[in-house]
């Protein structure tokens, strides 16, 4: 089962990378972009056929290692 963990900076944490991307997009003429947020995505190949258990595992991994919950939040997608 494949699990995708997406990790984003929490709202309130300054995201200089997102801001830099927004500026660069504007400079390229993409003026219709408002906010940009940059984050990480981690794709996991899990040895687990049950989606519920796979999700629980991936969430546990995210909590323990993949995200730093002081600054980041995460979401998990399965399949």
């Amino acid at each position: 089962m494949k699990a995708t963990v997406t990790v984003m900076l929490r709202p309130g944490v300054l995201d200089p990378q997102g801001r830099a991307i927004a500026q660069a997009l504007h400079a390229l003429g993409f003026t219709g972009v408002a906010e940009v947020r940059a984050g990480k995505v981690i794709e996991l190949d899990l040895d687990e056929a049950d989606p519920t258990r796979a999700r629980a595992q991936a969430e546990e991994m995210a909590r323990r290692l993949l995200a730093n919950t002081v600054i980041e939040s995460f979401r998990v997608e399965i399949g």
């Binding site: 309130g12 944490v13 200089p16 990378q17 830099a20 290692l65 993949l66 730093n68 002081v70 600054i71």
Partner: protein, 221 residues
């Protein structure tokens, strides 16, 4: 005081740190490979700078979750001293031994230059050979040194006098750190984390001895 340097894979300033400790302590520190984390007889555990586990995922994250962290945590619980510099600071925050987190530098670049640090308290085991308010120079070399904590944590740090060093003029705050914070202490004042590298300025030939008082302080404790 007996000092030990923790060696995680990818750490690269362990030699600099050993030189600085040897100068002040008069004998070399113990070098401890992360899989052999026996800290008996050690008073101060030093986690040096570098790129543990390549800084992949997040700086310090993987080292902070490695098995030997249990021994370091136990050392902290025992009231032992811990010094984390640069990657070591990142590891300590990732491990929850110090609050907050180190984000990417605000300019999104690696910054390697000298900065100026103001000593916020001169009455700790790490800073007794400095004067409070003294400004000293230290090389910095990091891509992720932008200190972040939520406002309540920042207020608590300041209120309890746990800010050890702040970036100061003329160089100022190079990386965007909240409230110019360059280094912080644990509530019992026994754990210090800071981003710049005092260990790289302990020799007049290399540009000065501005960093030496930190190690002299430890040696005298």
């Amino acid at each position: 005081m007996n000092a030990a340097i923790m060696l995680f894979p990818g750490i690269n300033r362990e030699r600099d740190m050993a030189i600085a400790l040897t100068r002040s302590f008069g004998r070399p520190p113990r070098m401890i490979w992360h899989r052999e984390a026996d800290l008996t007889g050690i008073d101060v555990v030093v986690i040096p700078g570098g790129f543990s586990y390549g800084d992949y995922l997040r700086c310090g994250a993987m080292a902070a979750h490695s098995p030997c962290m249990a021994a370091i945590r136990a050392h902290a619980v025992r009231g032992g001293y811990i010094l984390g510099v640069c990657n070591g600071f990142q590891i300590l925050t990732e491990a929850g031994l110090l609050p907050g987190a180190l984000l990417r530098n605000a300019n999104l670049r690696f910054i390697a230059r000298d900065c100026c640090l103001r000593v916020e308290r001169g009455d700790t085991v790490f800073t007794s050979h400095y004067q409070r308010g003294q400004v000293f120079r230290a090389p910095m070399a990091h891509g992720d040194g932008n200190y972040f904590a939520d406002p309540a944590t920042l207020d608590r740090l300041e209120g309890e006098g746990l800010v050890a060093f702040r970036y100061a003029p003329p160089v100022g705050n190079p990386n965007g750190s909240a409230r110019d914070i360059a280094g912080i202490l644990s509530p019992n004042l026994r754990v210090l984390g800071l981003m710049p590298h005092p260990e790289d300025l302990v020799d007049p030939l290399l540009g000065g001895e501005d960093g030496k008082p930190l190690f002299d302080s430890l040696a005298a404790a």
